[in-house]
């Protein structure tokens, strides 16, 4: 932010809130002022003057401190609803002489925060804000709020650093059991040359190719040979499995229904993750969208993205198409 912004009385993103200490200070100043005026006692005037001087000094220095702070938040690659999300915040103090003391970093609208005890002048400090999204979905990236109270804590002065873009929060992971799949099992072999899937026996070792799962990296050989070596696993017949999520409910506006639907989605997401981690090919059907069965982390993300964004809707469920392969259907009991 260029220097003229520091001269503005209010600059973008600035917020001010009095603390309890401010109200007590106001009472103190009122009483001392009244006593001084009533008695003409110069010692009380001195006390009043120094109190007000401290108030002004605290305001000026905290304003200076806040005006020279810049902050940036780094989000993790995956954010899960209900799980602790660790966000790294980096705060830079551009003041040439004044350290920033007791800087609080929060995420707007989210719980949690962290205190950076001291940021020396012209230096930066990092901290981790552990927060939690209560619900899945697509959110505008929360702004980072930096608060300063020092030196005397009369006001909470905050500066808001907004971030562009959205943040996708995956459904909550729960302890879900693998369902009983119904339908005729359908198998498949390796999908395309060069793609190996986890789960089979190790057949050979070869050099890493783009697209390989990093979990198949053979670290010992890699260290020995000085290049990335992966394990190619034996093909095996894999079954195509579908998880079918029925989004139709009787009353989608009912909060209880929405909560139950979210729980259902969490279960589906957890099952999908578990199956894919076990090496199964899993597809997802959320009417009318169909994600064909596949493997791998990218496929899992695709499924999770769909589940993160699905919303309940009013209606009656129907079988969307003839599923080839085993499937397990998840629906709320009230839908009809």
């Amino acid at each position: 932010m260029p220097w003229p912004a520091a001269l503005e009385w209010r600059f973008p993103g600035f917020a001010l809130a009095p603390t309890r200490g401010f109200w007590w200070f106001l009472l103190w100043v009122g009483l001392v002022g009244l006593a001084a005026l009533n008695t003409g006692n110069n010692a009380l005037y001195m006390l009043l003057a120094i109190s007000l001087g401290a108030f002004v000094a605290s305001g000026v220095l905290s304003r200076h401190s806040l005006g020279h702070l810049r902050a940036e938040a780094t989000w993790p690659a995956e954010v899960w609803a209900g799980a602790a999300t660790r966000v790294t915040v980096a705060v830079t103090n551009n003041s040439p002489w004044l350290p920033a003391w007791a800087v609080v970093c929060r995420l707007e609208g989210l719980p949690g925060g962290t205190v950076l005890p001291m940021i020396p002048p012209r230096q930066a400090a990092q901290g981790v804000v552990v927060t939690r999204f209560s619900r899945r979905g697509l959110y505008p990236r929360p702004a980072l709020v930096v608060e300063v109270r020092a030196p005397l804590g009369f006001f909470v002065k905050a500066l808001r650093f907004s971030s562009e873009g959205d943040l996708l929060v995956y459904p909550q992971l729960v302890a879900a059991g693998v369902p009983r799949f119904v339908g005729t099992p359908q198998g498949t072999r390796e999908l395309g040359a060069g793609k190996t899937q986890r789960g089979g026996e190790v057949e050979l070792l070869r050099e890493f190719r783009p697209g390989d799962d990093v979990r198949d990296v053979h670290w010992k050989q890699t260290a020995r040979q000085g290049r990335v070596i992966v394990m190619e696993r034996k093909d095996r017949e894999r079954h195509l499995r579908f998880l079918v999520l029925d989004p139709h409910v009787r009353d989608p506006d009912n909060p209880t229904t929405r909560q139950r639907f979210d729980d259902l989605v969490a279960e589906v997401a957890s099952v999908a993750r578990k199956l894919i981690q076990q090496g199964h090919a899993v597809g997802l059907v959320v009417h009318p969208t169909v994600v064909p069965p596949a493997w791998g982390i990218e496929h899992l993300r695709q499924i999770l993205t769909l589940l993160a964004l699905v919303e309940p809707r009013r209606g009656v469920v129907g079988v969307p198409f003839s599923l080839q392969g085993e499937h397990a259907v998840y629906r709320l009991g009230e839908s009809s």
Partner: protein, 652 residues
Amino acid sequence: MSTSLLWQRWLALAALAVTLPLGFSGAVNWLFLLPLAGVGLALLFSRTVYPPLPAWVENLLAPLILLAALAAGGLRFGILRPVANLLVLLTAVRLWGGAPRPRRYTVLALLAVLNAAGVASSTHPALVLYLVVGLAALTFATAQLLPLELGQRLGGAAPRGQPPWRLWLATTALALAVGAPLFVLFPRLRSPFAAAGMGARPISGFREAVSLHQLGEIKTSRRPMLRVRFPDQAEVNPQWLRFVGATLSHYRAGRWLEGRRQVQRGDLPILRGDQVGVRAEFSLEQTSDRLFLPPGARRLVPPEVEVWLDGAEAVRIPRGLVPPIAYQVVFDPSGVYTRPPGDEDLAVPISRPALERLAQRVTEGHQGAWAKAKALETYLQANYRYSTRTLAPLRADPVEWFLWTSREGHCEFFASAMVLLLRAQGIPARLQTGFAGGQDLGNGEFLLRDANAHAWVLAFVNNRWHIFDPTPPEGQPAAELGRSAWDWRAIWARLGEIWDRWIITFSLADQLDVLLAVWAKVRRHWLWIAVAGLVALAGVAVAVLSRRWRPRPQARLTLSPLGRSLWQLARLAGWEEGALHHATPTKVLETLLLRLERSRATCQWLFLVHQQVTYGLVQPPGARQLRRALREVRGELVAYRRQGSTPPPGEG
């Protein structure tokens, strides 16, 4: 150290600090301050956080505290003293176990009230040091406790450490810089609802009506009261430093007072007196309802207000005049001018036989009124002790109590006793109160303070009035004469005088004088001030603009070793330092992968590890493994650079 322990120690330190002004100013008896100081010391050096006292213990202490306040005099000496005593003891009780959250705010409030009371009672220059150190300590404490409280509230680790010295030093300095002009500019308007005296003031100073029962323990006040200058005299006789406020003849039940039955207005004789004598210029530094004149005052040039004489032969002026109040007097140094003696000057309303016996015994062998008076004066000086702590019981007459029981007291007791003893011998006598002694300021000028208030005796001997002072020498206000200008005591006294003049007694008139003087200077030198202002403004503009144009060094980010290595890889790939500060790891990785073929996986692995380590998910891999991976990626990037040109990251 836990947050609670830190709170406990800071509260203890605050309590100890609060005892200083309260004790030294005399606002609270030292005995009452001992519990507070004791609790403060115990908590300050303790390593454990004490819980509050059980409720039944506090309930038990409550009546004891009340009894202590009553034993100290109760309401006998006014309401403020017992209230202050009660507050001090209450604070001592609440301070114990005052660290926990809801209780600490009560303790803070009590300490704040006591601090204000102590400051209000102080007139010593050390008050400035006390306030400055107090402010610095408050800033330090707040800066230390704030992050701990925030850390607890946010649920994370409570950050600890010493606040940066620049922060609390800057706060203190800025507070003083702002507070000083505020002190000058605050309007010195006495409220029409100014609290009247709520009981006798237990500090030294002139009182119109002398009430021996209510004096109690007197604390010396350094408040300046009167300035006297003898402009025509090369040397000043210390005997001249005695100025009358009231002449009292009637004594009843421990009180000396005069009624207003003899008010004389209009053309007072003293306004037309001859001008033969010593000339003195007076300046009253406090609001007053009377002028203080030498006993031998012949002519008075009063201030430009109505003056009149009251029953105590005091020259009265209207109350509410804004000090300093200036007037001039010409006086006869050897004379005492007062009305002739009357029956009231021989009245002995108490224990006449006992007084007669005592006076007879003392004056036995002395012939003549003068010798008898001197004998009585000497007897009282030699056989009675001067003390400012006198608690005359209500049931007894204070003069009798002084003469036969306590045998100690201050000047009013001595003077009252001598007056009554003289009257018992048939010698007309009166009590005079006013000021005596004073601090030599040089150039024939003297400063008298509240502590210079005094009482002495007028005895009608050999057909004229004479002054006698039966107070022992240690109780008589001294005249400090002839100090060298470079004597360190004189320097300190001079500083004290400046403090008293421009801080303690800074009044509305002084304010106006200061503002008018500043305005006059501005008007006289407006051109130079304008030029200086423009130069200063230009200097500030140049400094600010040069800072803007100068490339600002980038703030140093704290990076892990792996982070630094990846930073270097990014620079190798063509990233600018400034752009890197705003780039995300994902973005950097994308651009690196465009330049890599063989070591793409390695590069991905490096960034994945960095991400995991940053979030604390894994331990960093071995240094050897990292070095090998970095070498591989770095080698390919260098080879890529040598080959050809692609747009730097972020462009195209």
